[in-house]
């Protein structure tokens, strides 16, 4: 298990290096002068030239890449050009905001998706099954941003049930400790604020979680069906175990393996989809951070932002892989 984990981590190294090359060259290739952006449309050319010099933007590619890797290795993600702050420290609130959102979205997707999938597979070809699968089909076809807009329109603007945007109520701002607001309010014992934080989470969570939910539901159903047809399930039935044991002990664990893969992959989709959801719901997360970085040509922020997201993504997939080997004893020995 440990050897397997180490092996998997070592295998990540070339990917990580590849990623840094990609992130770095993306930025290097982007047209536009960051100095101009920093100074804005009403800046003088002299000021721009001066700033370029300071930022070392005139060095050749490999020198800049070398510097970049050099500082990455020491844990230095660079300094945001927009804010002049260390990205490593600055990024946390954004990251936490995104993580809170994606976490909730994933939990939502999992709870709804897995259960819908199980029941659909169990009651194959029932009305429930058909309804669920049609909903799931529509779900996977849903453009996140449109869903988000529609939700906002209907539930926030027309019905006024839930807040339109943001993470908390500006009148009663949540005091950030970990920047996971739900957690923070719980730590502080301010349950009223917990409710506020949760209310703000509902719409973006559903918007972001719908596609993974649909995909998970479909995946759970099909892998459940496949497992339910397998020989060992027949064995379990033949020895007289009850339906619940068949489904929840034997079938689900086996069906979980492909579902886990989907979850790992969907986390990437979530992190990517966050950029859209966060834009619509004014969620100050990493997606917005990168997006703002792009429009300000904030090179270090784009580089590091994308790198952070991609790293999280591959580590989640690593986690999924390790989880496999926890579930599936065959993997350890491979």
């Amino acid at each position: 298990m440990l050897a397997y984990a180490i092996r998997r981590i070592l295998l990540l190294i070339p990917v990580l290096i590849g990623m840094t090359i990609v992130t770095f060259s993306i930025i290097w290739l982007i047209p536009g002068n960051p100095a101009q952006t920093i100074l804005g449309e009403q800046a003088t050319p002299e000021a721009i030239a001066e700033l370029e010099e300071q930022l070392g933007l005139n060095n050749p590619f490999w020198v800049q890449y070398g510097d970049y890797i050099g500082s990455l290795v020491t844990g230095d993600l660079g300094v945001s050009m927009r804010t002049n702050n260390e990205i490593l420290t600055e990024v946390w609130p954004y990251l936490a905001a995104t993580m809170e959102l994606t976490l909730f979205a994933m939990i939502f997707a999992l709870i709804v998706g897995v259960n819908a999938g199980i029941i659909s597979a169990w009651k194959q070809n029932s009305i429930f099954d058909y309804t669920c699968m049609v909903i799931a089909l529509v779900g996977v076809s849903m453009p996140v941003f449109w869903l988000a807009l529609m939700e906002q329109w209907i539930f926030a603007q027309e019905l006024g049930w839930l807040p339109t945007v943001g993470r908390n109520n500006a009148r009663d701002p949540i005091e950030a400790i970990t920047h996971f607001y739900v957690l923070d309010t719980l730590i502080q014992g301010n349950f009223e604020q917990t409710i506020t934080a949760l209310r703000h989470l509902v719409l973006p969570m559903i918007a972001l979680g719908t596609i993974p939910m649909a995909i998970i539901a479909r995946m759970t159903r099909s892998s459940m069906l496949e497992v339910l047809r397998s020989d060992y399930i027949r064995t379990v039935q033949a020895k007289g175990s009850g339906q619940l044991i068949v489904i929840y002990k034997h079938a689900l664990k086996n069906a979980a393996i492909p579902v886990l893969t989907v979850i790992g992959l969907q986390t990437g989709a979530l992190l990517g989809g966050a950029i859209l959801t966060e834009t619509i719901f004014s969620w100050p997360g990493i997606g917005r951070y990168i997006y703002e970085g792009i429009s300000y040509r904030d090179y270090p922020v784009i580089q590091s932002g994308i790198l952070i997201v991609a790293t999280i993504f591959i580590f989640i997939n690593l986690l999924v892989d390790l989880l496999y080997s926890a579930i599936d004893p065959r993997i350890k020995y491979d």
Binding site: T235, Q237, K239, G240, S241
Partner: protein, 329 residues
């Protein structure tokens, strides 16, 4: 006649295919006596597995269903049993092992866990006791190091060992009937010999009746008392091992036996039955073997031959024996 523990009466099991219902098993009647070993032989797709799964009421539904007939187990018709009752029957009174030892155990649980589950399904015992029982069972099927082995996962075992575990699991509650669906087909001959040996000894020591499904007549000769030959969803011939192997009546059985290359005799050319097994449901009238039969005559294509009782525990579904039947009765 001895007392039958299990009796199938005119069992028909169909599968929905598009709009058609295709009978995979079409009017099978058979019985198994206490402590007896009955073999079912037949070519691939003739309905052997469907018959056995029907007994366990494990036909995947949809698309399959038991259409008609009775499955009488000790006087009780299992086709009418509630799911709860079936849960009791399965594993405790009738148990089953399957062809593929490689895929028949859940790969994600230890052997011990799966054995314990089987034991605790029918016996109110603590986990500890169940585990002890499991170790005993593993020992019973002739695997050394049982204490260690129950902590292993199926993939750590060889095919033969897995099949032994399957047998152990099936024997965990001393069932009255053990259905074994091609238990050795996937195994090598030397391993097959081990498994057959084991089954024989269990049959002798515990008196478990065994319904052995196979397509290997050699296996039948080795272990069975009585043989049932199936062809295209129907029983075509039934009799004791000796009768069937030494004096087959049905042209199909005859052909089958003649087409086997024999280890013990010398032969120039093998006999072969022309043609192939018909798709289930493709023949509506007439003898299902008629197309391949060298003795077929006109009536074979227009009449459905019944199963003629030829002598005690001997029957044959062939119009050639009509007069004989008539004369006998």
């Amino acid at each position: 006649m001895e007392q039958a523990v299990l009796q199938l009466k005119n069992l028909q099991t169909t599968f929905q295919s598009g709009r058609r219902e295709i009978p995979a098993v079409d009017g099978v009647s058979l019985h198994i006596n206490k402590g007896e070993v009955v073999g079912i032989v037949g070519e691939s797709g003739c309905g052997k597995s469907v018959t056995s799964l029907s007994i366990m009421r494990l036909i995947p539904s949809p698309p399959g269903k038991i259409n008609s007939g009775e499955i009488v187990f000790k006087g009780e018709d299992l086709t009418k049993a509630s799911p709860k009752r079936m849960k009791q029957v399965r594993g405790k009174e009738i148990s089953m092992i399957f062809q593929e030892p490689m895929t028949s155990l859940n790969p994600l649980f230890t052997i011990g866990n799966q054995l314990v589950e089987a034991i605790r399904n029918h016996n109110k015992v603590s986990k500890k006791e169940a585990e002890k029982k499991a170790i005993d069972l593993v020992k019973l099927v002739g695997i050394p190091r049982a204490e260690e082995l129950i902590h292993n996962y199926p993939h750590q075992l060889s095919g033969g060992m897995r099949q032994r575990i399957m047998i152990a699991m099936a024997m965990s509650c001393d069932p009255e009937v053990l259905i074994a669906d091609e238990p050795t087909t996937a195994l090598d001959v030397t391993i097959q010999a081990q498994i057959l040996d084991l089954m024989k000894s269990l049959n002798q020591s515990k008196g478990t009746a065994i319904l052995l499904i196979t397509h290997d007549l050699g296996v039948v000769a080795d272990i069975c008392n009585r043989v049932i030959v199936m062809y295209a969803g129907q029983i075509v011939e039934e009799g004791t091992v000796r009768m069937i192997l030494k004096d087959p009546k049905h042209p199909y059985t005859q052909g089958l036996i003649r087409s086997l290359p024999k280890l013990t005799e010398r032969e120039q050319e093998l006999y072969s039955i022309p043609g192939t097994v018909p798709q289930p449901g493709s023949i509506e009238v007439g003898c299902r073997f008629a197309e391949r039969c060298e003795y077929a005559f006109d009536a074979c294509f227009t009449e459905n031959p019944p199963l003629f009782e030829l002598e005690e525990s001997r029957a044959c579904r062939c119009l050639l024996y009509r007069e004989e039947e008539e004369s006998v009765s």
